[in-house]
C-alpha cells in the first residue's frame, strides 16, 4: 500500500524521471537563494511580498514530488503531530524532552480512509494521551490487546512474507502511539519481544496458523510477565508484611494495592500510610480501595513525609522500570521517599516485574523523562485560579510537570521480582538471563 497519508492535495502528479527531478530541485534551490538575497536587500524597507510570489509556485509541486520520491524509498512517515516546538515556556535543561500540546486532539492529522494506523491503536493512543489508561502494567496490557486485534485483522499481501512485513506494518502504529504519549519501558520491552517473535515465524506456516501463534505468544507474554509475575511477587511481598506494621505506599500502583489486599485477605493486622502528590493525586484512589477492603489508612501529601516517617515501619514502592545500573525509575517523588526512608532507617521495598528491566543506564532523573501536561499543575481542589494561571502570557513563568524520577540504589533496600528478591545492583544479571532466554 503506497497511498500518501494526510496529504491535503488529493491527486498525485505523474511520475517524473530522475534527471527531471534533479533539475527541478536545483531550480527550487536557486529560487530560494534568490529569494533570501532579495529579503536581505529589502531588510530596511518592508517588502515581504516580493520574495513570496517567487517561492510559492516552486513550492507547490515540491511536497507532492517529495512524497512520491520518498514513497519509493521508504514507507510513508506519519506527520509529527501536536509537538510544541517553540522555546517559549520551556526550561533550558529540559529542552531535550518533548512537550506535547494537549489542546490539539491526537487524531487531528489522521484521515479516515487512508490511514495506516489500525483503529485499535488510534483508540489506544487517545486513551494514553488523555490519561485514561495509566500505570505501566495497564498500558502494556492495553498494548498487548491492541497488537492482538491488529494481528487478527491483518492480511498479508501476496508478494510479501508475514514475518518481514508484519513488523513493517506495525511500525507506523507504534510511532503514532509514541507521539500520543511517550512509551513506557514496559511497552518498549513488549514491542521488542513482538519483533523477535514475528521474525522467528517459520516461512512454511500458513497465514492463519502464523497469526494464531503470534496471538498466542502475546497471551503468553501477558500471562508470564504480568499476571503470574504479579502473583509471584505478591506471594513474596506478603511474607514481609507482619502484624502491627505501618506500611507507607506512594500514590496508586496496581501491584502494591494487590499485595496489600492479599495481605489483608490473609488476616494480617496492619495500617497503611498513603503518600500522595500533586498534580495527579492518584493516592486518593488507593485510599478508596484500601478503605473498601477494611484496611485503616492515613493520607498525607509528600511534603509531610518527614512528619509521618517516624510511625512507619516499612515502605513499599512500585517501579516503572529498573535500569541496568541499579537505579529505580518510578513516579516522580519516589526518590524523595526513598531518601527520607533511608535517613530514618526504614526498609524500602521495591516491587518490579522482570519484564520492566531496561538496558538503559542513567544517573540523574532528567536525561530520560517525560513532560506531562503543565496545565494540570494549575488544578486546585476547589477549582479556583492560582496566581500563575496565566502563565502562558508571562514570558518568565514556566511550569514543569515531570512524570518520572530515578532513585539511586543506595536508597533502596530490596527489589522483589518474580524470580527472586534481589538488591538493585543485580539488574544487569537479570537482563543477561532474559537475553539468553530469548
Amino acid at each position: 500500500s503506497t497511498q500518501s497519508t494526510g496529504e491535503p492535495a488529493g491527486d498525485a502528479p505523474p511520475p517524473k524521471s530522475k534527471a527531471q527531478l534533479k533539475a527541478e530541485r536545483r531550480a527550487i534551490q536557486e529560487a530560494q537563494r534568490a529569494a533570501k538575497q532579495a529579503q536581505k536587500e529589502a531588510q530596511g524597507k518592508q517588502q515581504p511580498a516580493k520574495p513570496t510570489p517567487k517561492q510559492q509556485p516552486p513550492k507547490q509541486p515540491a511536497p507532492a514530488k517529495g512524497k512520491t520520491v520518498t514513497e519509493a524509498k521508504a514507507p510513508a512517515k506519519v506527520a509529527p503531530i501536536q509537538e510544541v516546538t517553540d522555546s517559549c515556556g520551556r526550561v533550558e535543561i529540559l529542552s531535550h524532552l518533548k512537550l506535547y500540546d494537549r489542546t490539539i486532539p491526537p487524531t487531528q492529522s489522521l484521515s479516515f480512509t487512508s490511514s495506516k494506523i489500525h483503529p485499535a491503536f488510534v483508540k489506544l493512543g487517545v486513551q494514553m494521551a488523555r490519561d485514561i489508561v495509566v500505570g505501566s502494567n495497564a498500558r502494556c496490557a492495553a498494548l498487548i490487546c491492541a497488537v492482538k486485534t491488529f494481528i487478527s485483522d491483518y492480511k498479508c499481501p501476496k508478494s510479501k512474507e508475514i514475518r518481514s512485513h508484519l513488523n513493517v506494518a506495525l511500525k507506523p502504529c507504534f510511532t503514532y502511539l509514541a507521539q500520543c504519549r511517550m512509551m513506557a519501558v514496559s511497552m518498549e520491552n513488549f514491542i521488542k519481544h513482538t519483533k523477535v517473535q514475528v521474525a522467528k515465524i517459520s516461512p512454511d506456516l500458513t497465514e492463519s496458523v502464523a497469526k494464531e501463534e503470534l496471538q498466542q505468544s502475546c497471551d503468553n507474554f501477558f500471562r508470564e510477565n504480568i499476571y503470574l509475575a504479579g502473583k509471584s511477587i505478591t506471594e513474596k511481598a506478603v511474607e514481609r508484611v507482619v502484624d502491627g506494621d505501618t506500611i507507607l505506599i506512594y500514590k496508586k500502583s496496581q501491584l502494591i494495592l494487590h499485595i496489600l489486599l492479599e495481605a489483608k485477605a490473609r488476616n494480617k493486622n496492619f495500617r497503611v500510610m498513603v503518600v500522595d502528590s500533586r498534580p495527579d493525586l492518584s493516592g486518593v484512589q488507593s485510599c478508596e480501595r484500601l478503605t473498601a477492603a477494611g484496611i485503616p489508612c492515613s493520607y498525607v501529601y509528600i511534603n509531610s513525609c518527614t512528619y509521618v516517617m517516624k510511625k512507619v515501619t516499612k515502605v513499599m514502592l512500585a517501579a516503572d522500570a529498573l535500569l541496568a545500573n541499579g537505579y529505580v525509575l518510578g513516579p516522580v517523588g519516589t526518590a524523595l521517599i526513598g531518601l527520607i526512608s533511608s535517613t530514618y532507617n526504614k526498609p524500602v521495598i521495591v516491587c518490579c516485574e522482570t519484564y520492566k528491566f531496561s538496558e538503559r543506564v542513567q544517573t540523574d532523573s532528567i536525561l530520560y523523562n517525560e513532560l506531562a501536561d503543565p496545565d494540570s499543575m494549575l488544578k486546585t481542589l476547589n477549582e479556583e485560579d492560582t496566581p500563575v494561571s496565566n502563565w502562558r502570557d508571562c514570558p518568565n513563568t514556566r511550569l514543569v510537570n515531570l512524570v518520572y524520577d530515578t532513585t539511586p540504589p543506595a536508597l533502596v533496600s530490596i527489589v522483589i521480582t518474580e524470580i527472586a528478591e534481589l538488591p538493585c545492583t543485580s539488574a544487569p544479571v537479570v537482563l543477561r538471563r532474559g537475553a539468553v532466554k530469548m
Binding site: 500533586r278 511534603n303 509531610s304 517523588g333 518568565n396 513563568t397 514543569v400 510537570n401 515531570l402 530515578t406
Partner: protein
Amino acid sequence: QWYQRRVTGERRSYVSVVKTINVFRDLICTAEWVTGRELIKIVKCYCKYLPLSQSNETDVSNVVRRILKIIREESVGPEATNSADGISAFFKTDIKPCNLGRSDLQDNILNSIVELLAELDTSKSNIVNMALEHIHSNERILTYGHSNTIRDFLLYGRKARDFEVIVCESGPSLKGHKMAAELSEGGIKTTVIADSAAFAIIHAVNKVIIGTHTIMADGALRATNGVHQVAMAAKFFSVPVIVCAPLYKLSPTHLCSYDPDAFNKVIGPEKMLNFSNANLHSKVLISNPDFDYVPSDLIELFITNTGGHAPSYLYRIISELYHPEDYDLDNMCVEDVEDEMAT
C-alpha cells in the same frame, strides 16, 4: 484585650512584631513601677496575654525578650554595662539597683526601644542588600513556597545578575505559585515544579535559598512543611542550603521532643482532600501539618540583618540578644520567687 485587638490576625511577622513593640511601649509608659525589676515583673505578667496560638508567636516572644533585655541593661546602669565584659554580663542574673529614678529610666528604655525599632526597620533591607554577595551569574536557585524576604532578596539580585529560579509549589497551600508570579513579574525566569520533583531537579541546581518561620537556638529551623526533604535532597547532592531571616526570628528555644505532634501544628485538610470525598474523610486519617523541623546540619549558612553566620555561631548571637532568665517567659526570677514566698 487591647493587645489582642491590635495584633491578632496579622500574618506578616514584621508588622506584628512592630505592633507588639508599640503595645509594650505604651505599657511601659502607663503602668505603675519604680524599679526595673518591678517593670520586668509587669511585662512578664502581661506576657500571659500574648496570643501564643498565633502563627507569629515566636517572633512576638523574641521581641518581648529583647525588650526585657533592654530593661535589664538600662536598670543596671550605663557604667555597669560599659565596664561589663560580654562573658560576665552573661552570668549576671540579678539586677543591682541603680540610682536612676523612674522618669530617667523610662526615657533610657524608650530610647533603646526606638533603636530596636530602627534596627527592625532596616533588618529586611540589610538582608536584601547582601543578595549580590551570594548569587553569581547564570545560577539556578531553588526556593520553596513563599517568603517576602526571599522574594525581595532575589529581585534585588536580579538588578545586577542574570539567573534562574525554580520554585517548589509547596503542597496543599500552593504558596509557591504566588512566589513564582511575583518573581516573574520582577523579570526573573521562574519555573514552578511540584514538590515531588525536588529530588529529580536538585542536582542541576546551584543553591537552595529559603526563608523560615523560626530559627531555633542550635541553628535548626521551624519552616514551612516540606522544607526538610528539600534540604535532605540538597545534602545528598551537596547543594548548599542558605537561609535568609531577620534576627527577630531567632528564638532561644530548642526542640523539646522528637515527637512530631509536640513540635508541629496541624491545620485543616480541606485543601488536600475535597469535601466531595466526604466518605473518605470519615474513614481516613488525614494530616496537614503546617511546619517542618529542619536539623541544623542540613543548613550551610544563615543570612541575617547582621551578616552571614554559620549555624554553629548562633549561640553567641543569642547570648548577645537575650538574657538567660528570659529564655522561658513564664519563668519568674529567683528574687521574685523569694518575695512571693515571704509575703
